[in-house]
Amino acid sequence: MRIRSSAIVMTVYLMFLLIPIYWLINMSLKTNTEITSTFTLWPQNFTLQNYVTILTDPSWYMGYVNSLIYVTMNVVISLTVALPAAYAFSRYNFMGDKHLFFWLLTNRMAPPAVFALPFFQLYSSVGLFDTHIAIALAHCLFNVPLAVWILEGFMRGVPKEIDETAYIDGYSFGRFFVRIFMPLIASGIGVAAFFCFMFSWVELLLSRTLATVNAKSIAATMTRTVSASGMDWGVLAAAGVLTLVPGALVIYFVRNYIAKGFALGRV
């Protein structure tokens, strides 16, 4: 009985999640005439024209490329600085550690809207405006604290005796960290990377504020097209569908770690 009722609950919930997404895909495969003139549950005049438009026009597809570039940069930077810091927090007491940890966390809680304008001025003044690295660095403000938090949770689960054994066996800190410690928390690194990717990929406000042309993200491209060319629903929907693809791929690769990762990393 219980199994059946939970199957119903899950079906209803998943339908709730998927129907709006289905509708977006449905739209993306219709012509604009069909969208505005008739109401159909699936495309009557099936077309890939909307996707062709996006994939052949550099002002569209460069948006994806730019987004992927700064997201990748952000994940790499965040993890590189977060790993040693998380190790320090998980293994040592040091002066001011608790305050520092809390301060880091508060940055995760900072509203992007508060930082948008100052960032704009800061990066303009150092000549980084409209570069990928500027957006990547700005996103670090949220992702580094989160990565430190997640990794610290995973590292706490690794017994300290492993460190000590490695030092006794004559490993240097660097070699121990890369050769022994990192493989042990591989799933934690995966989860942290997943979250960094997620927050950097979905963020709009900062990426839009910090780039105009060269590093313009797909999210920004989409919002501007809406206001500029009126309502080209088909292309807009197709662009939306294409933004789902990297996320779906990432989820597929980490699917076995999602639940485990959530649990171990406390997040």
């Binding site: 040091f94 508060v114 100052p118 979905v202 789902l244 999602i258």
Partner: protein, 290 residues
């Protein structure tokens, strides 16, 4: 775990410190500078003291936005947290269907915020959206671009759609950590379904639930993109939340002084709430490790 005292650990934290200081402290100083000064351009500043703060604290516009913000955050927490727990309890425990549900549930979390807005913008429209069209066909007068209540309902449903899975996934992770023996013991003790939830599942979910509430509260308090795309803050100002108001003020009207004062107060409120949560969480950790 016993930690050793070692101040050299500072060197390991240094990169993070430099990076976050560059990204957080410098901009924050700019904000503070604006908040206490008035400017007419050309980098000339006049000390304005607490004027901007007084302006903002007494401004009806801020009060309204704050009121809407708090109401919104409370509503979505009241829906998403119980619903997330409920979904987590109903998820398959293992096997193919568990991964299947996990993957589909994680999907909304990885959609760019503006696309979430776009999805619901299209979905809710009366002329081309399934939701709007269906409601209209059922004779319900629904239009989220004109009617403030409809706009609110749409924004709330959109947020529930977007984020309930996060709460559910966190709770699911908490539930997964409960050994099978607990459920068996409960059966033998003749515990009711409610007792199992109350005394076994809920205590195990307490930690993750606190994180879920913290994340959802903070993120909903900062919500910007989704309602911006969906309603643009309207109709009127009915869905203008704090961040939308702030962005309008700063980048739309270039009222930098008031915007900066607004930012600082906004940030302080969030800081206060984070601190309360953080203290609660570390206390919980300590209790568990005792």
């Amino acid at each position: 775990m016993e930690k050793t005292q070692n101040n050299k650990a500072w060197f390991l934290v240094l990169p993070v410190l430099v990076l976050v200081a560059f990204s957080a402290i410098l901009p924050l100083m700019t904000v503070v500078n604006y908040a206490f000064n008035d400017t007419f351009g050309n980098n000339e500043f006049f000390w304005a003291g607490l004027d901007w703060f007084e302006d903002q604290i007494t401004s009806d516009r801020l009060h309204d936005a704050l009121g809407r913000q708090i109401l919104f955050s409370l509503i979505i927490l009241a829906i998403e947290v119980p619903l997330g727990i409920f979904i987590a309890l109903n998820m398959p425990k293992s096997g193919f269907w568990a991964s299947f549900c996990l993957v589909l549930m994680a999907l909304p979390l990885l959609i760019p915020f503006n696309v979430v807005g776009t999805i619901w913008q299209i979905f809710g429209r009366v002329d081309i959206g399934l939701l709007g069209h269906t409601l209209a066909a059922l004779g319900i007068d629904y239009n989220y671009t004109n009617d403030p209540l409809d706009a609110w309902i749409t924004v709330v449903i959109m947020d529930v759609w977007h984020w309930t899975s996060l709460v559910a996934l966190l709770c699911y992770a908490g539930l997964q950590s409960i050994p099978q023996a607990y459920y068996q013991a409960a059966k033998i003790d003749q515990a009711t379904r409610w007792s199992v939830f109350r005394y076994i599942e809920l205590p195990k979910m307490k930690g993750v639930l606190l994180i879920a509430v913290l994340l959802r509260f903070m993120d909903s308090f900062m919500i910007y993109t989704e309602p911006f795309v969906l309603t643009g803050g309207g109709p009127g100002n009915s869905t203008t939340f704090l961040s939308i108001d702030l962005a309008k003020m700063a980048t739309g009207q270039f009222d930098l002084g008031p915007a900066a004062a607004f930012s600082i107060m906004y940030f302080l409120v969030i800081l206060l709430i984070s601190w309360v949560f953080y203290t609660a969480m570390t206390n919980l950790d300590r209790e568990e490790n005792r």
